[in-house]
Subunit: 376 residues, 2 copies
């Protein structure tokens, strides 16, 4: 059985995702297309627009995805290299032959060559990286600057390139494949309207209208409040104003230089005002948002995974008939969690923190099981 | 200058409180009437209907109270003996000559005689108390049963008697005075409508109408949402579902037998359903509510005061011209906090936790200062 993996957030699943999954199935000759999907918070530290169960269901309902596997929060809300390590590890664990991702060029060789060059292992890179840090760059920016100074052929400042590069670095047994992303100048008669996920969310917030998504995603918008950071500001204020400084500094991504700034920002009336106060060259929006995720779920440093290239379990969120066959196929030698298990305690905390400002509509994590969707 | 103290919650200040304060001023020949008032949470572990600054202002606006001093949460959300110790210590610290309180009988001698008997110091009491605990009684109930079996002349199961008794036990330099409480059969032409504070709140929740209160309190109801536990349930759920069991057990009033019950109760959709699940003979409504206060403010056992008969500071919340004279009078040798001070860090946490579901209307604690009200 040929299985192709896609690493995604589906925040939300839109026409571009549909195109990518359908092309990947054809081009890799896949019997099953499996998405490894971020849970309640995205890699860049934002609450996903809709909860993971709903997003997984919508993806399978389109018929383009056969199985959605959770990328646990502890592994997924991190800089690109850790995110990629964990997601690729899951894809390999369920024995996907191919990993398919979107790119501007549609050409895989530039990515694999850049990864093979192994620039980060050179002393020159370490020097350049440290220098950029000393100049007040954020860790992500220092890393891409150091890389660019030594390997100018591949632009590591583009977000899609960063992820592709780290997928290629993390891949051990899986083959890489890329689909050219839809955008200006691209025409496919089956896809008439394409926006990025950010564009879809922004358009909805501004106009109340949902564009460029399949029906399953449209239903998500109709049936649920859309999560975004501003809704969490009262809870974050409560946490920032009631948590002693030394306790804050036990949390992931918060050091003694950030903690007093966070406490001060907790006095701002809105999330955007607080964020504006917090941004510096060193503390980017992404690093601040990840720190706020850590605060919201009280994620202590001692709860960080020991390694990121080995996720201890596979948790299906939604599947169709083909996905069910995949699960039956692998369950003998892969640790598959379909019911609640103590390993999911952290993820359950995440879900409770995520649900709070959304009105607690969905079932608590303990009672959720993967959803079978008869899409094929 | 003759000063009379009243220990109160003013939750909210009603006509009965007005009568008590006015009678106390006359009967004790007081130049100043000073209230020692619970902060954001009451002795029995409930969020006060309105925040302490508003409640203090309303009390002074009536003209019956000249100065309101905060009874800090760390000292005030406790069983009656600790509450009384701390409140009496404050009254004595500001050199009140008299402590006046309400009672059914209007007769002080039964109270002082019962306190002087010092029943709790006898071995017979210890035996009876332990026996009642072993029979599954709550600590409060075991204590009143043991007392009643040895001293039947004074009924320690009546809430007013309990407080009066502990005031008498705690008093060292202050003289006791009592006012007969208004109720059935009592007629004072100046007070036509009297309800208990519980009655006032319940009537408001049921009918939306405010009864039996002076204008200053009526304004509180008009200008603010009324706090009650149900509004805090989403936050409590968040805390109960995201706080590991061992961390819960570090909090005041939560042992390893209560913690799993609390976590289970966190799954209930409403506060009242959760409370109903939690109540037993051993865990009374009061003890559960106090535990919920501890959860809401993350009050660790290591943050308990070392002793309750010595509050480290005096913090005025509101005063009029007479109250200002009192403050000037004592400030040379009493630790008076009128501006923010690190000693108030815990109380600031309490206020932030209290404010959250009320829409954050008031100033943060750090920016609050006592209010002068020109009531006389």
């Amino acid at each position: 059985m040929r299985k192709t993996a896609i690493i995604a957030e589906y925040n939300p699943f839109h026409n571009g995702h549909l195109h990518q999954a359908e092309r990947a199935r054809i081009e890799t000759d896949a019997d099953a297309v499996i998405a490894v999907m971020s849970a309640q918070f995205t890699q860049r530290g934002e609450p996903a627009a809709f909860d993971k169960w709903s997003r997984a269901r919508a993806a399978v309902q389109t018929g383009a995805i056969d199985l959605v596997i959770e990328l646990p929060t502890r592994f997924g809300v991190h800089r690109a290299d850790r995110f990629a390590s964990a997601a690729v590890a899951i894809a390999e664990r369920v024995r996907c032959q191919t990993l398919s991702f979107g790119s501007e060029s549609g050409d895989i060789s530039a990515v694999t060559q850049a990864a093979a060059a192994n620039i980060e292992a050179t002393p020159a890179y370490q020097t350049a990286f440290k220098e950029a840090l000393d100049n007040g760059r954020s860790s992500a920016k220092a890393s891409s600057e150091a890389f660019g100074s030594l390997y100018p052929d591949f632009d590591l400042t583009l977000p899609n390139n960063i992820l592709a590069y780290h997928y290629a670095k993390a891949a051990t047994s899986i083959e890489l494949h890329t689909i050219r992303r839809l955008g200006a100048g691209y025409h496919d008669p089956s896809v008439s309207d394409v926006m990025s996920a950010t564009g879809v969310r922004a358009h909805y917030l501004e106009s109340g209208m949902v564009r460029a998504v399949p029906d399953a995603t449209r239903t998500l918008f109709q049936d649920n409040p859309m999560a975004h950071w501003s809704l969490y500001w009262p809870v974050l204020q409560y946490k920032l104003r009631t948590t002693p400084k030394d306790v804050l500094e036990q949390l992931v991504g918060i050091d003694s230089s950030l903690s007093p700034r966070l406490i001060q920002a907790g006095l701002e009336p809105t999330f955007e005002q607080a964020l504006a106060r917090l941004l510096t060259r060193r503390y980017t929006r992404t690093s601040i948002q990840r720190a706020l995720v850590a605060i919201l779920i009280h994620w202590r440093q001692d709860e960080l995974p020991e390694r990121f290239d080995d996720v201890p379990y596979i948790r299906p969120l939604a599947f169709n008939t083909i996905g069910r066959t995949v699960l039956k196929d692998i369950k003998k030698d892969v640790p598959l969690l379909s019911k609640y298990h103590p390993n999911l305690a952290f993820e359950a905390r995440v879900t409770e923190a995520y649900r709070l400002p959304l009105g607690n509509r969905s079932l608590v994590e303990h009672m959720q099981t993967p959803q079978f969707i008869d899409s094929k």
